[in-house]
Symmetry: C2
């Protein structure tokens, strides 16, 4: 039996979802992968707790169900903030970085991810902020210290976009990628953004296209050795779309979708997020509601399309588990 | 530089397509994967040829362009039939099994695949016959002799259905799978397929649903430990569909597609191939012409859909290359 000593960095939806899967599939994981995840540390905004013998999955699930905090656990390290967990835990195999995204500095998640890689722990990311801000540095650390990292949960939840691009599109040297994001009804979202008004303070992260840009950056860092940053992406959100444009598009049998795209022009990658008119019959045009879609045209594989319907964040937790198993099984 | 000594078993569309990719991407493969494929043996219906120093890619491509046979190569082993290649080649790393499908006995492809695994060579399959007839035995040999096998090219060409199911849907314990084979105008599709060499020579194989059943069997052998055989699949082809049924479906806003499906009922897998009415707006309903699609509903990942458009068999050759690289890089 391979015991995977695991640190949960953050105890929100993704990691509690993961704990539920680990509980429900405990015997399946033993039988099929000879693997058991032993939770040796856990953090949230109240601090950290650690236990080399492992926390009971249900204890942590119940804690969050009661809206409790890590500070109420007996194993709580009083007065120590979460980013010091790598100093309190000497023996671990894996850190799961699912803390809240801090896209300004990377926050404690970035600090802890780096420190984990330096200690030779594997890191699975569900939080995309560290990757958006420091992908190249994290990869270098993982190479330098021989530690592994995976991040398939950061883009499109359970849809294995990252893994397919990284593993299954090998030897692709020329491609056009288009990705569509959607949370709920896009047209409704556009109207809502329009109603609120573009000049309004703090329009949502989503309607401005920044979240889509974050995902595109991670995809490009994964798929090709793209060295750019967010600053290199042209970003236009849906708040500029007018009701007239929507109506005109509809009259042409089209829909307006917020697309992320990457294409090589004159030897340079051109990355953009912008509202784009697509045929209502096309693959991206038929991605609706809670669906996320990706369309990839490559020199070797012609056209490949993937989408998922994911209203429940369980897919993201399952993606974390898939990555965690991948890392553990490849050792 | 890692030199991968490779035997091409069969020199038809898939392996000549592979040779063209190897030629065109030679420096990319060196730079990115530190890999060079050295073709130490090649076979076709005329027999075998072998050369420890490696054949020139262009020599083999040109041979086929001129509709030539292996027997015209200087390195031809006179009077020896192709299945003895494992006796003539002492040092190889990889066999690529792309010989014509013999679904009655498995033919020379099955003999050579087994013998290769026994010799510790890796085997990449583009021919599905050996897998359909002897999947369990081949897997056992690969475990017994510590040799690797991959077969992502056998289902949906470049679309990484096999890899996604095997690697990215980990810990899935309950699911419903639906897969769709070429839609659009079937007769036209079949004629066109024969013209470019992407379909079996006998079109009844496709229209009767047997080819779809072969793929479903391989998918199930890959995804779950399904121990059944083709005989356990209920097969109904499209030749029973009448123009009236098509018209009636259309009036209801539906289309008739040849679907392969797998679902667990009362603890038993139920596998079937049959013409099925689906909404014209649904994912499978919008797969047309040269598209192949798969829809997977799982307990952890909700709904995941993938499709590809692949008129040119280059995607299948690229899938062989992806598998060959996977095997070589994981060593």
């Amino acid at each position: 039996m391979s015991k995977i000593r695991t640190v949960l960095f953050g105890l929100g939806t993704v990691n509690t979802g993961l704990l539920k899967i680990l509980r429900d599939k405990r015997s399946y994981l033993k039988d099929h992968y000879n693997a058991e995840f032993v939770i040796v540390g856990v953090t949230d905004s109240s601090g950290l707790a650690f236990d080399a013998d492992g926390f009971d999955y249900d204890q942590l699930i119940d804690l969050k169900a009661r809206k409790g905090k890590v500070h109420s656990l007996p194993a709580y390290a009083k007065g120590v903030s979460s980013e010091f967990i790598t100093e309190y835990i000497h023996q671990a195999d894996l850190l799961i970085e699912s803390s809240p995204a801090d896209l300004q500095t990377g926050g404690p998640g970035l600090i802890v991810a780096k420190e984990s890689l330096r200690k030779g722990w594997s890191v699975v990311f569900a939080n995309k902020a560290p990757l958006v801000l420091a992908f190249d540095e994290l990869k270098e650390l993982s190479v330098m210290y021989g530690s592994s990292m995976r991040w398939s949960a950061t883009v499109c939840g359970g849809l294995p976009v990252i893994n397919v691009l990284q593993r299954d599109m090998k030897a692709t040297t020329n491609y056009i990628l288009q990705q569509m994001e959607e949370g709920g009804n896009q047209e409704e979202a556009i109207r809502e953004a329009q109603r609120i008004g573009a000049a309004e303070a703090d329009p949502s992260h989503d309607t401005k296209g920044y979240d889509t840009a974050n995902k595109l950056l991670i995809i490009m860092k994964t798929f090709v050795d793209y060295r750019g940053t967010l600053a290199g992406i042209t970003i236009e959100g849906i708040e500029s779309v007018t009701p007239l444009q929507i109506a005109e598009a509809k009259a042409r049998g089209n829909k307006i979708k917020l697309l992320a795209s990457a294409a090589r022009e004159d030897g340079q990658w051109k990355l953009a997020i912008k509202p784009t008119e697509v045929s209502a019959q096309s693959f991206l045009g038929t991605c609706n509601g809670w669906e996320m879609g990706i369309e990839l045209e490559t020199d070797l594989y012609e056209l490949i399309c993937m989408k998922n319907y994911e209203a429940d964040p369980v897919g993201t937790s399952a993606a974390v588990l898939r990555d965690a198993l991948d890392i553990s099984l490849s050792k």
